[in-house]
């Protein structure tokens, strides 16, 4: 039976009529029209549906929308501020951290969580952090470079990171 859920998404309160079985990924896309969150595998493997729940990266295909009530949800649409891309979005653009772009929103949301925990991750730490995000264009090299560049920007350092 449908019920009204009230979700805090990208700082705004949104409501939707959903069944308890509705997955957060579907409600974001189909009810709230936030189609930046992608659905790849629907089996918590690929990470394309990653969003932030109270600042932590979560696969929204493995969370019920009703579970998200009372949480702060951030999707890829919520990262830019006043028309300025988030440093990770900017870095994915500049470093060409994508080919087809399907995995990109999830990659970026996971990287937001990583950089909040670790402002200067090594290449190994970045690769471990994005282990739950699949890029089937095999473009990981530039994704790692983009996350390193964004980390440097967020630290206020020069974008080129010294080799470690």
């Amino acid at each position: 039976m449908k019920r009204t859920v009230s979700l805090s998404v990208n700082g705004a309160t949104r409501t939707a009529e959903v069944e308890p079985r509705a997955l957060l990924a579907h409600v974001l896309r189909d009810d709230l029209d936030l189609t930046g969150t992608h659905i790849g595998c629907d089996t918590s493997q690929c990470g394309a549906c990653t969003v932030l729940i109270d600042g932590r990266a979560v696969k929204s295909c493995t969370m019920l929308a009703v579970q998200a009530e009372g949480c702060q949800i951030t999707t890829i649409e919520g990262l830019a501020t006043n028309g300025n891309l988030h440093p990770l979005q900017q870095a994915f653009w500049e470093k060409h951290g994508l080919q087809c772009g399907f995995c990109t929103p999830g990659m970026i949301m996971t990287a937001v969580d990583l950089l909040a925990q670790n402002s200067n991750p090594s290449e190994g730490e970045i690769r471990h952090a994005i282990e739950g995000n699949y890029c089937r264009c095999t473009g990981y090299q530039n994704i790692v470079a983009a996350i390193q560049a964004a980390a440097a920007t967020l630290r206020g350092a020069t974008p080129a990171r010294a080799a470690s």
Binding site: M1, E19, P20, R21, L23, H26, D42, T43, S44, Q45, G47, T50, I53, R56, A57, V58, K59, T62, M63, L64, V66, Q67, E69, G70, T110, D113, L114, H128, A129, I130, E131, G132, N133
Partner: protein, 286 residues
């Protein structure tokens, strides 16, 4: 997409959840949902109702209990990794947890959910056996504690009754100076253990004074290897470790599947056991 409908209720406290379970009307518990939601998608679980305990603060966090620790059942893997108390007293918890799922799964998945799910290839149950963890269960009928070694009763099967809720995991103190290690061979796609070994070794001067070895991924449930006690009294030399490791799957009905036929899995069990014992021995204080 989840093909089957169900009702959902968010518990306001543990008592609320116990009341919902006491109805025995097909209610299942959801915390992080990272074991349950995949089952719902495949119709492998068909509950009439879910009771959500994921947000209950009283079930989350790690607390100091004398020289041991108590972990709330709804504590996420991420919170386990961030616990200084666990890092200090039970470094094997961080060692095993960093390999569970991936960053997103660890952010939402809970230790209690994983244990109650009782996947025979899950990593954490072996560590719980090696640490002699005590699982605290509650129902409207009362409270009881079940040792991890009696909790796992088969594939996806535990000692919990239908109306019981796992509320905490109590870890007794490790023997002083003990070394611990978890070693596993993962199925490449899922990350679940084809064979996993958790070891605890304590030395007293030049000999081994205590040794525990637990295995997962081998059979329908995790188990303790009795032969581990044969390391006690030895100097922990490679031959002695090999003698114990060789018995890691002795007398056990070993699973065989497309990822690892039984003979191969039995071989992996021996190698994982040997490496875990060696690491734990090296990490123990002389």
């Amino acid at each position: 997409m989840i093909p089957q409908t169900f009702d959902y209720v968010r518990a306001r406290n543990v008592g609320d959840a116990l009341k919902a379970l006491a109805a025995k009307d097909g209610t299942k518990v959801i915390a992080g949902g990272h074991s349950l939601i995949p089952l719902l998608k495949f119709r492998l679980a068909q509950p009439a109702r879910l009771v959500d305990i994921g947000h209950l603060d009283e079930l989350r966090g790690v607390t100091e209990v004398r020289r041991g620790a108590k972990i709330g059942a709804a504590t996420t893997y991420r919170d386990l990794l961030e616990s200084k108390l666990l890092a200090e007293r039970y470094p094997i918890i961080a060692e095993v947890t960093s390999g569970i799922g991936d960053l997103q799964v660890r952010n939402k998945g809970t230790i209690g959910g994983g244990l109650a799910h009782a996947d025979p290839a899950a990593d954490m149950p072996a560590v719980m056996l090696a640490l002699d963890a005590q699982l605290v269960l509650r129902s409207k009928r009362g409270k009881r504690t079940v040792a991890a070694r009696e909790f796992f009763q088969g594939a996806f099967s535990t000692a919990m009754a239908e109306d019981e809720l796992l509320i905490a995991i109590a870890l007794p103190p490790l023997p002083r100076g003990a070394g611990t290690a978890y070693v596993s061979f993962e199925q490449a796609a899922s990350g679940y253990a084809l064979a996993g070994a958790a070891a605890v070794v304590k030395r007293s001067r030049s000999t081994v004074a205590h040794c525990t070895l637990a295995m997962t991924g081998i059979s329908d449930r995790p188990y303790l290897v009795r032969a581990a006690e044969q390391l006690v009294g030895t100097q922990g030399l490679p031959d002695a470790i090999e003698h114990v490791a060789a018995q890691a799957a002795a007398g056990v009905e070993v699973n065989g599947d497309i990822h690892a036929p039984a003979d191969y899995r039995r071989h992996l069990a021996v190698v994982a056991a040997r490496r875990a014992l060696q690491k734990a021995f090296v990490r123990s204080k002389k």
